[in-house]
């Protein structure tokens, strides 16, 4: 099997499993309990918190463990809403993940909020003018993702954060895709809140992080017990927290690999596909992308069909539409970039990890050449 869908989810690293297993099997105590058995767990959770903090250059006290990237994103927006109940405006981008985007629609449709969705250009780059002009005294929060999950396009977070903070507005960034692929430094970037998700960096699914800068008046999204210093109710997901700590340690060490080995292999795949399959185009700013991501459109064929043919060859990738929902529309990201339908429908996202090899890229190319050809032969929109 060739797994090249690492922006969707990643293999749990062996080291991570080894680290968490004892806390599933043996040390099952509730970390806030009053006995030594729970203390063992609690200390290890503290260690994990320090590892996560180290990964993004935060203080351990600024790390809140959540259940996933989506919860982190929801919690960030919720905190701003609670902190500024009188402010009814939010700024996000057109290419945010549904964890921000759908929430914004909900707030707009049901809760009386006005949301500015900042557009992008054809290469997926933000329209800063719109962003900065939209800021007002009524703006509760600005949320801009660190890097886009579909195209890998990276946004200049430090620069945006500075402009937003000048106005005294809270700034949140969804760094779910940036983390582990490029360096993330919350202090250097000057962000107020930042979301991470474990399963994108070789930890298990079902664990996330919300970084909340010290000084931010945070109110919890999950309201319940005293866990996470009262900032997130619910018994701590100890084994997964410990796993995430380890995963962050590994991810930090692997960043250089991402920028060399992984980038090289990705570029190799990209070049071969562009060279050997006609009417093929890359989506997103090639000069400013995550080193592991390649979004590529094949004219006149449809993504799911390509995926099915790749699956026959044991290759796991994603298409450019939310096809699992039965929707035939290209993703909101490709639409926002005004990618023409002809290539948007035939877009495939390849997303690598350090586990991928160059040999795998050759197999992918050899599989795709005949597959695309066959589909084009039956497409009413293909004319060579």
């Amino acid at each position: 099997m060739i797994y090249i869908d690492n922006n969707a989810t990643t293999r749990v690293a062996d080291e991570v499993i080894q680290e968490m297993l004892p806390y599933l099997e043996q040390f099952y105590g509730n970390p806030s309990s009053m006995y030594g058995f729970a203390d063992t767990v609690n200390k290890k959770v503290q260690q994990a918190r320090a590892q996560v903090a180290e990964f993004i250059n935060a203080d351990p006290g600024e790390i809140i463990f959540t259940s996933c990237g989506t919860e982190s994103d929801n919690a960030a927006i919720n905190a701003a809403i609670n902190a500024f109940p009188q402010k009814k405006h939010i700024i996000a981008t057109e290419v945010e993940h549904p964890a921000i985007r759908s929430l914004c629609f909900h707030l707009q449709d049901k809760k009386g909020y006005k949301v500015t969705f900042v557009p992008v250009d054809k290469k997926g780059r933000l329209d800063f003018d719109t962003l900065y002009k939209a800021m007002s005294d009524d703006t509760a929060i600005v949320s801009v993702m660190w890097a886009n999950n579909e195209t890998g396009v990276i946004f200049p977070i430090a620069e945006i954060a500075e402009k937003v903070k000048e106005k005294g507005i809270w700034f949140h960034t969804d760094a779910v895709q940036g983390a582990g692929k490029i360096p993330i430094d919350v202090k250097a970037a000057g962000v107020d809140m930042l979301s991470l998700s474990g399963h994108k960096i070789h930890a298990p699914k079902g664990i996330g992080v919300l970084y909340v800068r010290k000084g931010i008046k945070f109110s919890p999204f999950l309201i319940g017990g005293h866990q996470e210093k009262g900032r997130r109710g619910g018994t701590e997901n100890t084994a997964s927290i410990i796993a995430l700590g380890k995963a962050c340690e590994l991810a930090k060490a692997n960043i250089p690999l991402m920028n060399t080995q992984v980038r090289e292999i990705r570029d190799y795949l990209e070049t071969r596909l562009l060279d050997e399959i006609p009417a093929t185009s890359v989506n997103g700013d090639r000069g400013n992308r995550l080193p592991n991501t390649l979004s590529i459109g094949f004219d006149a064929v449809e993504g799911e069909s390509i995926l099915m043919l790749m699956n026959q060859a044991g290759i796991c990738a994603s298409s450019g539409s939310a096809c699992t929902s039965g929707s035939l529309d290209p993703s909101h990201v490709l639409m926002a970039m005004q990618v023409p339908f002809k290539s948007a429908h035939g877009t495939i996202r390849f997303s690598l990890s350090h586990y991928n090899t160059k040999a795998e890229m050759d197999t992918i190319v050899e599989t795709l050449i005949p597959a695309i050809d066959r589909l084009r032969q039956m497409s009413p929109f293909w004319k060579d």
Partner: protein
């Protein structure tokens, strides 16, 4: 992943009757590039209105390809009158069923066939009147309003049971509910006025 039947996979991986058909005298096109789903159906019809050959070109997902392939197999050898009775359910059945989110692929097959027959007969097919509500099952608001008024439907579930609309991907459910509510409100207003 979709729970495709073996038959679907077979017709996707080795579709029958692919390509333009030389000497075709009836062509039906449906869908579009923008929709992400399109089918061009070619028929060769003899003087007895019997389909002696059929082929297709399809842009779409695995089940769109499979539905097209199945359709051509089903209708080859039929008279146009018999072919006109082929429904999307026949196509789905032929394939051992389709995931409900993919039923629209069989609807596309049926639609292209209708158009091809009309093309042969020189008839102009009018677009269905009303606004399309459920793309999976090709149901418009007028059809729903009609069913609510005449068949005593009261909620989305009734509509799905009666017209199938909403029983696929489900993305139209909210709009169905809206139509049902509005229609019932109008009916009440009327009966009160009487």
């Amino acid at each position: 992943m979709w729970n495709y039947s073996e038959k679907v996979m077979e017709h996707f991986l080795k579709p029958k009757n692919v390509g333009e058909l030389e000497g075709a005298n009836a062509i039906g096109e449906t869908g579009s590039l923008n929709c992400g789903d399109a089918l061009k159906l070619y028929l060769k019809v003899n003087e007895n209105e019997r389909i002696i050959d059929a082929s297709f070109m399809t842009f779409g997902c695995a089940s769109a390809v499979a539905s097209s392939s199945a359709l051509t197999e089903i209708i080859k050898g039929m008279t146009l009158d018999d072919a006109a009775k082929v429904t999307n359910d026949d196509i789905a059945d032929y394939l051992g069923g389709l995931p409900k989110e993919k039923m629209h692929c069989s609807v596309m097959g049926q639609a292209a066939l209708k158009k091809a027959i009309a093309d042969f007969r020189g008839i102009q097919i009018l677009e269905k009147p009303g606004e399309m509500i459920c793309e999976c099952f090709d149901v418009t608001d007028l059809e729903i309003i009609d069913a609510v008024k005449n068949n005593g439907l009261e909620n989305t579930e009734d509509v799905t049971n009666y017209l199938k609309a909403g029983g696929g991907c489900g993305k139209c459910l909210d709009r169905i509910e809206e139509v049902v509510h509005k229609t019932m409100a109008t009916m009440e207003a009327h009966s009160e006025a009487e």
